[in-house]
């Protein structure tokens, strides 16, 4: 990853955007997360926050950057000396999804467009172990990848005015879960009864970028039951350390 040289651009008076020329890539994500940790652990006191997405790191400072060349040089140094040799063991969470047509509003659409039977859609979606790349769009919205090619379908041209809390969506090579009711442009194939964001907790979510997610199919009855358990604070999500 060190020979994948990123570009450094100013982003407003207080930001430096570091971008790599890659798409959704697990190795790049591991590198980005490690580099982020490295920079945050450094002695640069004026860095207030670092936001990352698939192929970018946005480093934000508390005041306008005076010596941009010096700052870029410093960041370049951190990134080039970072080696992802430290093995991090991400957590793998098991997430229940009900793919019943009551929730899977776009199952028929995916069936037609992608020429798949519905049981195939369900198994293609729930088989892989996805990587959580980052959170964005809404508090607690997980950007997961990589969705299998057979399920690739563009997002809706006109987003739905309202998708249900817990709606599981797919778009392009991504899959995600809407943490609350609101407008949404992804194709909806199921619903998850868990809570993905609770502002009264700190941290407000269980998940961190780099975590692994595995879906499993549940019935309508199980969905209802888990929803009840979650409301009573009695549900424990199954998880384990991932990876060899």
């Amino acid at each position: 990853m060190n020979d994948q040289k990123p570009t450094f651009k100013r982003y407003g008076e207080r930001g430096i955007l570091i971008s790599w020329k890659l798409g959704m890539d697990e190795n790049l994500l591991r590198f980005i997360l490690g580099a982020k940790k490295q920079i945050l652990g450094s002695n640069i006191k004026s860095i207030v926050e670092i936001i990352h997405t698939y192929n970018s790191l946005l480093v934000l400072y508390d005041t306008p950057i005076k010596n941009i060349y010096g700052e870029i040089k410093r960041l370049k140094n951190y990134i080039s000396t970072y080696s992802s040799s430290q093995k991090t063991k991400p957590t793998c969470f098991h997430i229940p999804v009900c793919y019943d047509p009551k929730f899977g509003l776009d199952l028929e659409l995916v069936k037609t467009k992608n020429n798949l039977e519905i049981p195939e859609i369900i198994s293609l979606h729930s088989e892989p172990i996805y990587t959580l790349y980052f959170m964005g769009f809404l508090p607690g919205f997980l950007y997961l990848g990589t969705l299998g090619e057979k399920l690739h379908i563009p997002r809706k041209e006109r987003p739905r005015k309202r998708v249900e809390k817990g709606a599981v969506g797919i778009a392009g090579n991504q899959t995600g879960i809407y943490p609350k009711n609101g407008p949404g442009g992804w194709q909806i194939i199921g619903n998850c009864p868990l809570v993905f964001f609770d502002p009264k907790q700190n941290p407000p979510t269980l998940f961190s970028a780099g975590d692994k997610i595995k879906f499993h199919s549940i019935t309508l009855e199980e969905h209802r039951s888990i929803l009840e358990q979650v409301k009573r604070g009695e549900f424990s999500i199954k998880k384990e350390m991932h990876g060899r």
């Binding site: 982003y11 407003g12 955007l17 207030v48 192929n55 964005g136 769009f137 607690g140 964001f197 502002p199």
Partner: protein, 284 residues
């Protein structure tokens, strides 16, 4: 029982300096739309700049003070009545208990800010009192809501202030902005066009974004989702400009053409729908 809401107004909500450090969970920073006016309201009362203020959009609210209070309202121009008598904007004044304060109309600009001595004491969630849908229980004030305040100490219940509100910058129609990460995706003509005052502030403005009327150029399309900031000017697939404001999402998939200078965000916030604006390109 400190300050009770008799009428909530169009969209009144509590804001402070915003939430920091939660962007990684997709939580927007929030904060006052016109941070400069919000700060001025606090300065008039010698408040800590982190004190929470009431952000008031267009008209309303009507508030009942159960307690004595020292307050100030800041912004461009508004009709404010205290017990049916006009009081000035941008000056601190004393509100005796059992008073009714009516912020009837914002005459100039879109938002005004009401500060009380030591700030409103509404719940702090994830490090800030800023109201935001899905974060705080309320996203805006409703009738019969009660806003907590700090009791005035007998020795410091009134403030004089010599501070003068500087309205001049708000008159600018060319907003200072830096090239965004995808500025070079624009053609030469596109780059020139954004530097002319040909864009209209839409009537659909809000805390998340200010859409602008007027076409730049089409065909750039969407890109892989990347980080965005409040003040980022995006170019939509149709070729329109869309300015992300304080409650904007933390990531986005449209080209980031420009990034507003901090002061430009405050100025744009106060541009009424229909106002024409352009961007003055700054060098870093």
């Amino acid at each position: 029982m400190a300050v009770e809401v008799l009428k909530p107004g169009l969209f009144s909500n509590i804001q402070d300096r915003g939430r920091f450090g939660f962007g990684k969970y997709g939580v927007p920073k929030s904060g006052a739309m016109d941070a400069c006016s919000a700060d001025f309201a606090n300065d008039l009362l010698n408040n800590d700049p982190s004190s929470a203020v009431l952000e008031i959009a267009f008209f309303g609210p009507k508030l009942y003070f159960h307690i004595d209070a020292s307050i100030a309202i800041a912004g461009l121009e508004a009709e404010i009545l205290l017990n049916d008598r006009q009081v000035p904007i941008n000056k601190p004044f004393f509100v005796p208990k059992e008073s009714v304060l009516d912020i009837k109309q914002v005459w100039k600009g879109n938002w005004v800010y009401l500060a009380v001595r030591d700030g409103f004491q509404t719940p702090e969630i994830l490090g800030s009192r800023s109201m935001h849908d899905g974060i705080t229980t309320r996203k805006r004030l409703r009738k019969r809501d009660v806003l907590g305040t700090v009791a005035l100490s007998k020795s410091r219940n009134f403030y004089e202030s010599n501070l003068v509100f500087d309205a001049k910058p708000y008159g600018r129609n060319m907003l200072r902005a830096f090239p965004g990460p995808e500025f070079d995706l624009l053609s030469k003509q596109g780059k020139s066009l954004v530097q002319t005052p040909k864009f209209t502030v839409s009537k659909d403005i809000g805390r998340m974004a200010f859409p602008l009327g007027g076409l730049v150029e089409k065909g750039v399309g969407s890109m892989l989702t990347g980080p965005v900031l409040p003040g980022t000017v995006q170019l939509t697939t149709e070729g329109k400009l869309y300015v992300l404001m304080r409650d904007a999402q933390v990531t986005g998939g449209y080209p980031r053409i420009l990034q507003l200078a901090d002061e430009s965000m405050d100025i744009l916030a106060q541009k009424r729908p229909g106002s024409k604006i352009g961007f003055e390109l700054m060098d870093f």
